[in-house]
């Protein structure tokens, strides 16, 4: 058997996540993970995850309930933007109840053109539940609506990092403290592949200010973007704390040259020889850096080679990451007013461009453009064959069913409490309840 050695270099939560992921996915194949840990820097207190945390749990065998309990977690249906003209939530889940309801969003557009006061959140499980402070996971009676019930989680970052550190040691990750990330590869000839995780705090240079405010009992089921007096504030809540940071807006944003954009562009991936370097800013307005990391690690495994020093591998990986970044960036910039082709197309016919990565979902784009007040000149021409009198009752019935489902959900706080206290152990693997690898 070929024992390969993977060196993960970095510090903080991103570093621990990458180590866990690689250890869980590669150890069964005989790989050994060495964590070259640089001195820990201050990072944000709250880690915002999208649905990527569910993937992380599935791979690592850590239980969501355990993480929620240990890290004061809150569930999160999406991001609420207080300046949206129509609706408020950028949901992780899809609109409607099922994932393949053809032209459902166009039925919504038809309703909004006739009844401008109607709200997209009425047609979204996530949006409706977030409004009412309700929450449930797509278990048991709701399993058919998993796509509509996708959610994220906010966790206390330091607690999660510490927990993963312990977990990784149990997995056999060996930690070696180093003074910085410029480790000479020749000093460690046993390492076959180096993964550098640069989790850029971003706060001091790019975000206007970072404040950590203790807000006990803040459990609202979503993160928030507040726009006020030319400033945009991002808030993310765990059960114990709220992370709040500012994103500068104003004239600079219109030109696309604002400080915020520079911050976002610091997402990057570069591959040289047997070294892959991922730079992931910890603070962004929309895209979860943790979900990005999981996506990029999945891509890495999808292309997992026998020999790492491959020009084509490096090029292919970077091409993927660049596309991911461009798609996420397009979304972020549109939020701050950029006229993208995506927005122009939506304004004309209510359609979205096909995208190559999972950086942003259709539902998120739809919610964003609706939220900005964009109402397309026309909706689906196929739906034109159905008149309002036939179409609207169908849409109302779905909205009614969504209300009904949401009213059956417990309050967010209650769900979190029950979920966390259900006694599920943190490490499911330790009980032998799941199997990985071969």
């Amino acid at each position: 058997m070929n024992h390969r050695v993977i060196g993960v270099v970095g510090q903080g939560l991103m570093f621990q996540i990458a180590s866990s992921w690689l250890s869980r996915t590669l150890s069964p194949f005989g790989a050994k993970i060495i964590g070259f840990e640089t001195p820990v820097k201050d990072g944000p207190v709250v880690a915002e995850w999208g649905p990527g945390l569910h993937d992380f749990c599935a791979v690592t065998g850590l239980s969501l309930a355990g993480l929620m309990r240990e890290c004061q977690g809150n569930f999160c249906w999406g991001l609420r933007c207080n300046w949206f003209k129509r609706g408020a939530l950028l949901p992780y889940g899809s609109y409607g109840l099922k994932s393949r309801q053809k032209e459902f969003e166009h039925g919504m557009l038809r309703m909004f053109s006739r009844f401008p006061e109607r709200n997209p959140d009425e047609f979204s499980l996530a949006g409706s539940a977030a409004c009412l402070g309700r929450f449930a996971l797509p278990m048991a009676q709701w399993s058919g609506w998993a796509h509509a019930m996708r959610s994220g989680v906010t966790l206390e970052a330091a607690q999660l990092a510490s927990l993963l550190h312990t977990f990784n040691q149990q997995l056999g990750v060996v930690y070696l403290p180093v003074s910085d990330d410029s480790i000479p590869a020749e000093a460690h000839p046993q390492v076959d592949f180096w993964l550098h995780i640069a989790s850029v705090a971003g706060g001091s240079k790019s975000a206007e200010s970072i404040e950590e405010t203790l807000l006990p009992e803040s459990c609202c089921g979503y993160s928030e973007l507040h726009s006020q007096a030319g400033k945009t504030l991002k808030l993310a809540h765990t059960r114990r704390q709220t992370l709040q940071y500012g994103l500068r807006q104003g004239a600079q944003h219109q030109s696309g040259q604002g400080r915020y954009f520079r911050q976002f562009k610091r997402f990057s991936a570069s591959w040289t020889g047997n070294q892959l370097r991922l730079e992931l800013p910890l603070l962004t307005s929309l895209t979860s850096p943790f979900d990005t990391l999981i996506d990029w690690l999945q891509k890495l495994l999808e292309l997992w080679p026998a020999q790492f020093a491959s020009h084509a591998l490096a090029m292919s990986y970077r091409q993927y990451a660049d596309t991911y970044i461009a798609e996420a960036e397009d979304f972020e910039q549109t939020l701050f007013g950029k006229q993208s082709l995506q927005r122009q197309l939506f304004l004309r016919c209510g359609r979205l461009l096909q995208r190559e990565t999972g950086a942003v979902s259709d539902a998120q784009w739809f919610a964003l453009l609706m939220g900005m007040g964009d109402l397309p000149q026309r909706s689906s021409v196929v739906l034109e064959a159905t008149d309002d009198e036939s179409l609207f009752p169908v849409m109302e019935e779905i909205a009614r069913r969504i209300r009904c489902v949401v009213s059956g959900m417990p309050e967010h706080r209650e769900f979190v409490s029950r979920f966390c206290n259900a006694g599920v152990p943190l490490n499911i693997h330790a009980l032998g309840n799941a199997s990985q690898g071969a």
Partner: protein
């Protein structure tokens, strides 16, 4: 009362009638008037058309009953394309409409295959694809939904393109499409450059808001009037002519399209219920039309020599398929040879996208840009896949030697380098062919990667080989339970026979 939008389709071939059928079925008749103009003497190639599973989705969207369709157009079932002589003389592999093996431990199946058998010539990769195995055995059965082995494939049809166009014409006329027989004498443009109307030879003027150019290679509107421009890909796809003819029906029609190489290109065989379509595709600088006709006659018994048709084409793509208020669909939009049966697929996706983006007025820069971007990606990704068939070869003729040494598009170069070095083909979200198809062609034509997934060394070769052999035996057993193709076709004539739901996927189901 609001004036209805006039959509004029120029061309009465398969692309024209597919467009008319879809538009008349999906757009409300109260708001859209569809007119199709076709020349009285129009001749389609009429020797058979091979399709891919997406055609079922198109028919399903139109509400066409599959069994009635099969009877009407003389269709046979299709599960694969069989490639003989591609890559090296003795090669014989099938590109099936389904997955080979399964993804295990999040690693694609071909890595297990390569770990177990390496370059062994005794075991072929396509033998792990149920659709391919069934095709070789001339068998057919509907995929069983939800079954992890017997449900992981799709199917398509071989059909008579003329009959399909006729079928869709009847369908369209019943849905209110106005059909005008006439030849275009001139085209009137507005000051802005948009097309206003077509003037026919008999003096009739056909006005329209939107014009679909389905006029075939002549590209009467998109090129002759609007000068969209054409990007030739002949440097990568050197065949530029085909001679086609029909022979009698086969006693036991296969469930595959045959594609077999010759010294200057390849030839096809498409089994229909009532006859067999045949053709030779070739590069005109390597083979004359007469030589191609001789080759066709020599290769196929009972061909009707008096009705051979010679076609010439230039592989490539229109620079802008949507120009002003005109959208090119079918051969006017571009030509990629039918090696992977993608012609009707490209027609289909263009129609679907046009309906999706159909603008409210002519100020449609965004729709146009998005449409052209979409079509470009579709064409370019299929193009790269086709080039791989030509490029990966060790055949000994000047034609094949050129193909083996030609410079490749950057996009394909990177894909192949990645595969050569790591055994991986990158997937994409938009585009027809997923990594399993790329692997099937690469391995089928003798291109083996230097490396495979780095995790594979965990398992001893013999252990994987044992598992795979057992898996393959199960597939063979499943094929044994399938019906003979001819019997399955007879069954399609039975009233009320239920067929599976179609999905827009080459592999039979839509994941997620």
């Amino acid at each position: 009362m609001v004036k209805p939008v006039d959509i004029v389709i120029l061309g009465g071939g398969t692309a024209g009638w597919m467009s008319a059928a879809a538009l008349s079925r999906l757009l409300p008749a109260s708001r859209y008037r569809i007119t199709l103009v076709s020349a009285p003497e129009l001749q389609t190639v009429g020797v058979g058309e091979a399709t891919i599973p997406h055609i079922r989705y198109f028919n399903q969207t139109l509400g066409i009953d599959e069994n009635e369709f099969i009877r009407s157009v003389g269709a046979t079932y299709k599960l694969a394309i069989r490639f003989k002589g591609w890559g090296y003389e003795a090669s014989d592999y099938c590109h099936g409409f389904g997955y080979s093996g399964e993804r295990i431990n999040d690693i694609e199946f071909h890595h297990y295959f390569l770990r177990a058998f390496g370059r062994s010539s005794e075991v072929d990769y396509d033998r792990f694809c149920l659709a391919s195995l069934a095709a070789r055995a001339h068998r057919f059965e509907y995929p069983k939904q939800g079954d992890s082995m017997a449900g992981r494939y799709g199917y398509a049809f071989h059909l008579d393109a003329t009959r399909y166009a006729d079928y869709l014409r009847e369908f369209s006329l019943a849905n209110g499409v106005k059909h005008i027989l006439g030849k275009v004498e001139s085209v009137q443009l507005s000051l802005s450059g948009d097309i206003c109307s077509l003037r026919l030879l008999n003096g009739e003027i056909i006005e329209g808001d939107w014009f679909l150019d389905c006029s075939g290679f002549s590209a009467r509107l998109i090129e002759q009037e609007l000068n969209s421009g054409y990007e030739s890909w002949q440097q990568w796809l050197p065949c530029d002519r085909a001679v086609a003819g029909a022979s009698g029906a086969m006693d036991s029609p296969p469930t595959y399209t045959l594609s077999q190489t010759h010294c200057a290109g390849w030839r096809w065989q498409i089994p229909l219920q009532h006859r067999t379509g045949n053709g030779v595709v070739y590069a005109s600088h390597e083979m004359s039309d007469d030589e191609a006709a001789v080759l066709l006659n020599r290769s196929v018994e009972g061909i009707d020599e008096s009705r051979l048709k010679v076609l010439s084409f230039l592989p490539g793509k229109r620079r802008k398929s949507w120009q002003r208020n005109c959208v090119a669909i079918g051969l006017s939009s571009g030509f990629l040879e039918p090696l992977e049966s993608t012609s009707l697929y490209l027609v289909q996706v263009a129609i679907e996208k046009f309906i999706e983006y159909l603008p409210a007025d002519r100020n449609c820069h965004a729709e146009r840009q998005a449409f052209n971007q979409f079509i470009d990606i579709e064409y370019e990704r299929i193009r790269d896949f086709l080039i791989l068939h030509y490029h990966q070869n060790g055949l000994n003729s000047s034609f094949w030697r050129y193909c083996a040494t030609m410079a490749l598009p950057d996009s394909l170069n990177l894909r192949l380098q990645l595969y050569d070095e790591t055994g991986h083909f990158s997937g994409y979200r938009q585009g027809l062919f997923m990594p399993v198809s790329w692997v099937t062609v690469a391995l089928g034509q003798g291109r083996y990667p230097q490396g495979i997934d780095g995790r594979m060394q965990k398992w001893p070769k013999h252990q994987i080989a044992q598992e795979l052999t057992s898996y393959q035996a199960k597939l063979v057993s499943l094929v044994g339970q399938m019906s003979a193709h001819k019997y399955a076709l007879g069954r399609a004539g039975e009233e009320g026979l239920r067929y599976p739901e179609a999905s827009p996927s080459l592999y039979g189901f839509v994941s997620g």
